[in-house]
Point group: C2
Chain length 230, copies 2
DNA sequence: ACCTGAACACCGTTCAAGT
DNA sequence: ACCTGAACACCGTTCAAGT
């Protein structure tokens, strides 16, 4: 009968790079970094562990590919800014927050991103930010430094959040409980040796990761601005 | 300092948390993150894998303890600044570079640091930087944001360098070869979609990680300064 | 071309048994 | 109190064999 007359949704049974990546994302989301194993994955795909190797070279490649899929979605999503003032700064803030939220939703992306250095996920992020840094009027020789700083900062916060997510999962602990406990530990420190950390213990309990993240982006943006002005 | 008159250096044969940590550092330095296994470690310590568990709860605790030992040394080292102008900014730069160099020498510290969130290694770094941010005259409510931004940035660059080190080890590839190859890949990208990355490919080949890192620290410091002035 | 699944060479961790 | 080492329950990866 008609072979391509209508949208026969690619036979469910055939394995493909894409199906493998989608299944990996589901697995990573539902059971964390440790949840992605070739055995669990092949069970979910109703196949043998060896079959996956026909489509993907290694676990590390698989993790980066899954990370890249999330980053691609995030960087291609329409930028959520007020049209009235879609300044480069506002767009950069929005892109950065997009990554923050993506990592918040998929904590494993944070650590995968770090391992994917200079590969596709980084390229996507750097490109989007880079264009806005240009639009900011930063001179050519300073653009790389500016983009690199923003990217590294996002990477750092992302990695931290990935660790948080991992910790929350393994210890089955609530984030605010954990902050409470940590704040208590900090208050216990020797006041001679740790005056700053002790005094910051209160803010630790109250702080909002997302707002702190944004504040850091704003500091870097201000730094870029005041460098440019000179 | 010397607490007691040159005591006998704790009998070589007895296991101890410290000896285990030192052996772990050697193993991590010589064969990377993957090189730290309880089997390799117990062989080096001439004991069984189970023995280590008497002194340390888990591999993750071991990794963080090893990381903390390096961070402690780094943060306690005398700050290398020109006495004449030991401004808070200069001290922060020096502390940050100290961490950069430590991670450069021990790439595994980068990824361990990320996993150690809010624990001892972070506390040491945050304290040292925090004191200088205070000395900068940043108002109380803004201190945490400033320190947090600096720390996250250091974490991000550190994580990236850890990945580099790992990559260099597994692929047995030289850093500059790798940058060369990556720069070539970037030049191949679609100019419509990736104008910025393409134009940055040249700088990628030429760039100096350490200088880029310092430039980022300076951007954040400038941002802090201009926030304060407002 | 694509898939199967047993087998290999590892892991971290536990625990009865020793000293 | 501290150590031993076999055993358990996993891993990623390979590969002859199938379709």
């Amino acid at each position: 009968m008609a072979k391509k007359a209508q949208s026969v949704p690619r036979r469910e049974k055939g394995l493909s790079r894409n199906r493998i990546i989608e299944a990996s994302i589901e697995l990573l989301d539902s059971s964390g970094e440790g949840g992605l194993t070739f055995r669990a994955l092949s069970e979910r795909l109703a196949t043998g562990p060896g079959a996956i190797y026909w489509h993907i070279a290694s676990k590390s490649e698989l993790l980066i590919a899954a990370c890249d899929a999330i980053v691609a979605r995030t960087m291609n999503a329409p930028v959520a800014t007020n049209k009235r003032e879609a300044t480069p700064q506002a767009i950069i803030r929005s892109l950065a927050l997009g990554m923050f939220d993506a990592i918040d939703a998929h904590p494993w992306v944070g650590s995968a991103l770090i391992r994917a250095e200079l590969q596709s996920p980084m390229v996507r992020i750097v490109e989007r930010i880079g264009q806005q840094v240009r639009a900011l009027g930063v001179p050519d020789e300073q653009q790389w430094e500016a983009v690199s700083a923003l990217f590294s900062y996002i990477l750092g916060v992302g990695g931290k959040n990935a660790a948080n997510g991992q910790l929350a999962r393994t210890r089955g602990i609530d984030r605010s409980e954990f902050l409470e406990a940590m704040s208590h530990v900090w208050l216990q420190l020797d006041p001679q040796e740790y005056p700053f950390v002790r005094s910051a213990a209160g803010q630790l309990r109250a702080h909002d990761d997302r707002m702190d993240f944004l504040a850091g982006i704003n500091l870097i943006l201000k730094g870029i601005e005041s460098s440019r002005r000179r």
